[in-house]
């Protein structure tokens, strides 16, 4: 599948934002992070900014961004619509929780309740993002049980990397945030490894013979395409560059996106705050690049059944 920059930017930044938002909301509501106005403003501000940038980026993918509001109407059947509805529903409790934290210096009572609701809606929104892909039957690399855990784990890991940096900047809750970031990165690496192993070994879902109904005559092989130049289907669904470099890119994600940041965060946790900030910032850069490459691969490696009509033997 063609990896559109706007969709990669959207899924990565909104995932980061919801991960950070959910972590702040849960840790705040549990009283594990003190309601420090600086951390609250910077943390919740960053989370909501990342989410908003992500949601805006997703509209750049549209042919008619001015009609994007219509996408909220079909939540009964469409995961894309559900995602939009939940994304918007998450703002009011997040703002209430943020207001309590930053203005009133409180994360208890009604603010704690708002925090739990914020975290729940953040997690559900990421689930919906994953389901947009996991519900598409023609693309086996997306429709499998590792896709939703992958999106959730990446949101947790990238959000936790932000939280670790912010905690270091404000000197609050450091040990805890470092541990969460290390666990999040480890979990995301394991889930992505399992996902890659699954898509590498899964049996094909369809053949060219099934796509043409010619199974009765044996195997089918494309002889001639209908058009000499590429068409929309080939450009959108028949993207081919990534599979060639997949293994190298996966190593880049594992080392640059998970391994190196993990070591940096571990090292930072033994250093005084002033020095740890730089290591944590570097870790965040690595995690971000890793997440972007991972998401690019997620799109680029996916094979659509329509390629069976353009020369693929199996999908």
């Amino acid at each position: 599948m063609h990896p559109a920059a706007s969709v990669i930017l959207f899924t990565v930044t909104s995932g980061m934002g919801y991960g950070l938002l959910a972590l702040l909301a849960v840790l705040g509501s549990l009283g594990m992070l003190p309601p420090d106005p600086g951390l609250g403003l910077a943390g919740l501000g960053t989370a909501l900014a990342l989410i908003t940038v992500g949601l805006l980026a997703s509209t750049f993918h549209l042919g008619h961004p001015e009609r994007a509001w219509r996408a909220l109407s079909q939540w009964r059947t469409s995961w894309l619509s559900r995602e939009g509805v939940l994304a918007i529903m998450a703002y009011p409790p997040a703002v209430l929780f943020g207001g309590g934290w930053v203005l009133a210096g409180r994360t208890d009572g009604v603010f704690a309740l708002a925090g739990w609701l914020t975290a729940l809606l953040a997690v559900l929104t990421v689930c919906c993002t994953a389901m947009i892909y996991a519900s598409l039957k023609p693309i086996p690399q997306w429709r499998n049980r590792w896709v939703m855990p992958g999106y959730l784990a990446m949101a947790l890991a990238t959000g936790a990397a932000w939280l670790a940096l912010l905690a270091s900047v404000f000197g609050i809750g450091r040990g805890l945030t470092d541990i969460i970031a290390i666990l999040g990165l480890g979990l995301a690496a394991l889930v992505k490894l399992a996902y890659w192993r699954h898509i590498d070994s899964a049996a094909p879902i369809a053949t060219a013979a099934a796509a043409t109904g010619l199974g009765g005559l044996g195997q089918a092989r494309l002889l001639e395409r209908p058009n000499t130049q590429e068409n929309y289907l080939q450009k959108e669904m028949g993207f081919r560059v990534a599979r060639k470099h997949a293994n190298r890119l996966r190593r880049l994600v594992l080392i640059g996106g998970f391994g190196l940041p993990l070591v940096l965060i571990l090292a930072a946790s033994f250093l005084p705050a002033a020095m740890s900030i730089w290591l944590l910032a570097l870790a965040l850069v690595g995690v971000t690049i890793g997440a972007l490459v991972e998401r690019w691969l997620f799109f680029a490696q996916a094979k659509h059944t329509v390629t069976l009509y353009y020369g693929a033997a199996t999908v």
Binding site: H61, R67, A68, T77, K137, A206, L222, Y232, E236
Partner: protein, 253 residues
């Protein structure tokens, strides 16, 4: 609406495509492009039409496949076949292209099962084209909306046309009658009887989209015996048979 209507009339308008008689002339694709360029989903944009990389929206595309028997024995060049394969929207009974649509622009008509797009509601998110396993939807970058086969909804109900012409453009134009149009929800219809008689098949049935359009597989090749010399029957009772034997001998020289 994006949800599939539970109450339908039972009518399932669609196409039956005979892979035995399709000669791959692309007339259906061209006639479709011509009609729909001025019809319901118009225009079907062409970019760089006379340049180096023409790129445009088509609802019908004709592929050619080669088939080869799976077993080693009995295989070989003699049993391979070339099959021309027209591909367009199958107006599925379970169209995920409709249910994934976030705006309700994509819909399946309860009255006849035709899958259409309301272009005024389409936001151009392309999700429907990802959800279709058959590649039946193409994005038009000029209008910023998705386009697809309408089963020529603006022909088949057009009372200004003579009844014989109230058929999709691709069906009207096909020189070998490889495309048939009708109600596949009615078991007594001409198309349904043809599907039953020829063992019509669904494409990618395992994915569960339940296409309405059916494909008739190529017929078995005639045995080589059909082209062997006719039996010589001198003095036979049937004068016609003797005459045919004589003509066969004459032409075989």
């Amino acid at each position: 609406m994006t949800a599939i209507a539970p109450n339908t009339t039972g009518r399932k308008l669609g196409l039956v495509i005979d892979l035995d008689t399709c000669v791959g002339c692309h007339a259906c694709a061209v006639a479709c492009k011509e009609w729909n360029d001025g019809g319901h989903m118009a225009p079907l944009t062409d970019e760089d039409p006379y340049g180096r990389e023409p790129f445009g929206v088509w609802f019908n595309r004709v592929h050619a496949f080669e088939t080869q028997p799976e077993s080693g024995c009995g295989g070989g060049p003699a049993s391979t076949r070339t099959v021309h394969f027209p591909r367009s929207c199958l107006h599925c009974e379970q169209p995920d292209c409709v249910t994934v649509c976030p705006t309700g622009a994509s819909y399946k008509r309860a009255e006849d099962g035709i899958v259409l797009i309301d272009e005024d509601q389409c936001i151009g998110c392309k999700l429907c084209s990802w959800a279709c396993p058959y590649g039946a939807r193409e994005y038009d970058s000029h209008s910023g909306t998705m386009k697809k086969c309408t089963l020529c909804v603006d022909r088949i109900y057009n009372t200004n046309l003579p009844p014989a012409e109230r058929r999709p453009a691709c069906v009207m134009v096909c020189p070998t009658s490889a495309r048939l149009f009708g109600d596949l929800g009615d078991p007594g219809s001409d198309v349904s009887r043809r599907v039953a008689a020829r063992g019509g098949v669904d494409l990618l049935p395992d994915l569960g989209y339940r296409p309405v359009n059916k494909y008739l597989p190529p017929r078995e090749r005639r045995a080589a015996a059909d082209t062997a010399p006719l039996p010589d029957a001198p003095g036979g009772a049937d004068i016609g048979q003797r005459l045919l034997g004589w003509v066969d001998r004459l032409l075989s020289r």
